[in-house]
Symmetry: C2
Subunit: 518 residues, 2 copies
């Protein structure tokens, strides 16, 4: 496919703006062709108007039709072949292996939502026919056009046809994507694939649009448009919070599902340190360096009680960090921010650098291991903030009470991990109870990176990890973010969606007079 640098307004390509930018290859800081033309306000509005028009048709498509559409997007992404992978390597500095894996994840995610639609029970159909009141039937229905903001760190899986788009399309919403300016070419290729799937499956043209832009104005124009009914976002706290603030202060406030990362504390309990410290040191080092530390679930904090085992663990971790392989960070800006973040951490009282690996090449993200005592940590919330890149702050607690105190003091995170023996778990029940309130996912003897896409996964958590802890941005429950329940009282079958018809033609699970049945 020939990259054009244009915006996708439904099936139309448009580039009327005066502002333009180019992607930069972070491996050598060279600019990549073509120029990407930032969408004008008018173009953005046009995309949103098309999304609203298309919504009126798309929302009535059956689960089977929408499922086929998602599956076709997946196929079209695969048909892009190596061109997609190569452009993405050039724009992100990520490895071929990683990006091929991410493509598989993206495609499987689309297919999984397709399966959810074909099965159909996600709508939470409920029927009450008791004689004491009129017949009441309810089900979830799509909210309307959704604005999607892709992440820098997952140029496919959390981007143009990533989790937010897949789940919003599955719910029956139409989409206006703001392409990430760090990988506009990858975005254009995938947007082209979505466009082909729209054509092949006969979906309304305005079901999907994508606008380019490097300035904040583009995003704000999406969030502030009255037709936009929800936002999906993955990225930084500052970015997500700005969208949230705009969305909740609109004349009509709308929900924002912003996943804003976190430091994902890892608690090492005494039994695990005694039995398994070398493996854990190696595993933690691998996890923090995966994707050059640029994962939302990167383990940024490691917490343990002081002991001989802990000191030995730290010594092994130090060795591991020293010999860790650096990678190229996603963008020059992210590389600069990583250095600033490290400097900031190192300037905080009590923080020491205990290991770092060698730099290697342009925008190199080399591993850093820092440590701090628990009193300093407890008195300085700055130390809990995410630094995007391969850095761990190791926090030494004087005793188990301090360890639990650290957990109690935490803000919201996407994950927390616990390494322990079964005996540790019994001894640290308090800690588990505290952590359940702090995170979306609690991991036992495992590392937080690697978020499986399945029916049970929750990738979310209390603020500031997200702006809405009641949902997830990975896994099939993500579809619920973009729907709301609508209730029909006393309606004849002929006017009801199939999901609510008396004879259950879709054979879905429904709650009928308080009993789940198929």
């Amino acid at each position: 496919m020939n990259l054009t640098g244009l915006n996708f307004l439904g099936e139309k390509r448009s580039g009327n703006g005066n502002q333009a930018f180019r992607a930069v290859n972070p491996a050598n800081n060279e600019e990549l062709e073509p120029r990407y033309i930032e969408a004008t306000k008018q173009e953005i509005n046009q995309a949103i108007e098309l999304a609203e028009e298309a919504f009126q048709v798309y929302r009535h498509k059956s689960g089977a039709e929408k499922g086929k559409f998602l599956e076709t997007i997946a196929d079209e992404i695969m048909y892009l072949g190596d061109e997609l992978i190569e452009r993405c390597i050039a724009e992100t500095g990520l490895t071929r292996k990683r990006l091929e894996g991410e493509r598989a994840r993206t495609v499987n995610q689309l297919k999984l939502f397709g399966e959810v639609l074909v099965e159909g029970s996600w709508v939470d159909a409920r029927i009450n026919t008791e004689e004491s009141s009129p017949t009441i039937k309810s089900m979830k229905m799509a909210l309307g056009p959704v604005g999607v903001f892709g992440a820098s760190n997952f140029p496919m899986a959390f981007s143009v046809a990533g989790g937010d788009t897949a789940s919003a399309l599955a719910a029956g919403c139409t989409i206006v994507v703001k392409a990430h300016p760090a990988h506009p070419g990858t975005c254009e290729l995938v947007a082209g694939a979505v466009g082909k799937a729209i054509e092949k499956t006969g979906m309304p043209k305005g079901t999907f649009s994508m606008v380019q832009g490097a300035s904040k104005d583009v995003g704000m124009a999406i969030v502030n448009h009255p037709y936009i009914k929800s936002i999906g976002f993955t990225g930084s706290f500052n970015g997500g919070k700005a969208l949230f603030d705009a969305a909740v202060n609109r004349p009509e406030p709308i929900p924002v599902h912003a996943e804003m990362g976190s430091t994902n504390p890892v608690f090492l309990l005494p039994g695990a340190l005694k039995e398994n410290k070398d493996n854990i040191a190696e595993g933690v080092t691998n996890s923090v360096n995966l994707g050059v530390g640029q994962f939302c679930t990167k383990p940024g904090l490691v917490v343990y009680e002081d002991s001989e085992d802990a000191q030995n663990f730290r010594a092994t971790l130090t060795e591991q960090f020293q010999k860790a392989q650096p990678g190229t960070m996603l963008t020059p800006d992210i590389s600069t921010a990583y250095r600033k973040g490290l400097d900031n951490l190192l300037q905080q009282e009590g923080v020491q650098l205990i290991a770092n690996s060698e730099e290697n090449g342009t925008n190199s993200g080399n591993a850093h291991l820092l440590q701090v005592g628990s009193d300093h940590f407890l008195s300085n919330q700055e130390l809990e903030k995410e630094v995007f890149g391969p850095v761990i702050l190791a926090v030494t607690a004087e005793n188990s009470k301090k360890l639990v105190r650290i957990a109690e003091n935490l803000q919201g995170h996407l994950t927390a991990s616990l390494f322990g023996t079964e005996e540790d778990l019994e001894n640290y029940k308090d800690l588990i109870a505290v952590l359940q309130r702090k995170v979306g996912r609690l991991i036992f003897n495992g590392y937080p990176t690697g978020v499986a896409v399945n029916h049970a996964m929750i990738h979310g958590g209390p603020f500031p990890a997200t702006t809405d802890s009641r949902t997830t941005s990975v896994g099939t429950s993500a579809i619920n973010r973009f729907a709301r329940p609508v209730c029909f009282q006393n309606f004849p079958d002929s006017q009801l969606p199939d999901e609510l018809k008396d004879n259950n033609p879709l054979n879905i699970f429904r709650l009928v007079n308080g009993k789940w049945q198929q």
Copy 2:
């Protein structure tokens, strides 16, 4: 029970403040004993700290235990006997019949949530055990302490132990209620019943507190406290929006479930007007006057196409309104606001008064029927706003296109009603499609007042009807407002809640590897 005028801080009664107020009997404007002492900031904080402490215990109670607790609250409310009904009549001017009905509703609502807990599947337990990834299990868990703001118009069903409290307690949250200053005695009686249920079922003392107050400071102190994790509110747009604005602009934003009423448009289609106009005129008049027009679902707008049938309908409606029985409004302030709201409507261009019933007694809420043409209606959003009281604005559309245009132009409402024949429904498919996007509940050949409490009911809708259209404040799905999913990766059964244990000891419905099963 002896009314004390004090605040409930867990089991403790406290009244350290300098501000006090008394309830007023709206039937004669006389003040009622005792003085109610507004809670101080310190007392409010103490209630919230108790709620946080209690949460750490209460959230681990089993569904059966919490179910028993809710059932016991219901029993204790019934044990209050006539004292509750009489105090409530004195504070609200509502009739004995209405209040006995509301008490039954309140008690049944508590019991229904109890049943949901005993059955247990509401937690949406999901388990993935595919070998390709670690074992992932997730379920919904309580958010934390919740602030509940009762409504003026349902002194029991949307108040101290009403729908918000019942659903939040069911989810496993602890509660701090802000009593409604219009019926503090009713609130005190019910709070006493909740206290007794806590004692009888051995729940932690801080599970429930209630503070009194007539100033906005009390509510704001609740919303702004960092331990409070969600808000339930039923009341006016201004009240709900102020809480929402405060909550989303906190350092840690929290969700607000504010049900803020609406005008609940009723669309009369040609076939229905031809066949059934007299019955509909009578039914609409009864519905608008139910509870003196002080229901969130009061039909405040009636829309029809001009025709001879429509003119006849309006003539009958005029007669019905003229002879409607007025009732006592809830408070002198609400009565004054009703007059102001009517004056404001009548000052809008094109609005005419066509009927009103006689006033009768103090704070009388007499019925008013107003009319306006569709062009005036479409160009003036003021006409869509709720006026709390027994008033209907009848909107005449020149043709069916204008009728649909009116629907398209609507903001969010709790309900919309359609009166029609089956043929009408076929002819007005567009209208139905439009209204599905505007409301929480769509009613065919029925009146919007009367919101059945069951598993399928949705009492919600797009903004400005509520601040979160993705939920309901009536019906068993309301429990989902106060919980969020938590995911456990690779955890041994011994450390998991029963809902997620391998052998499914609670025998609940779970989504296991993508299949719903029990």
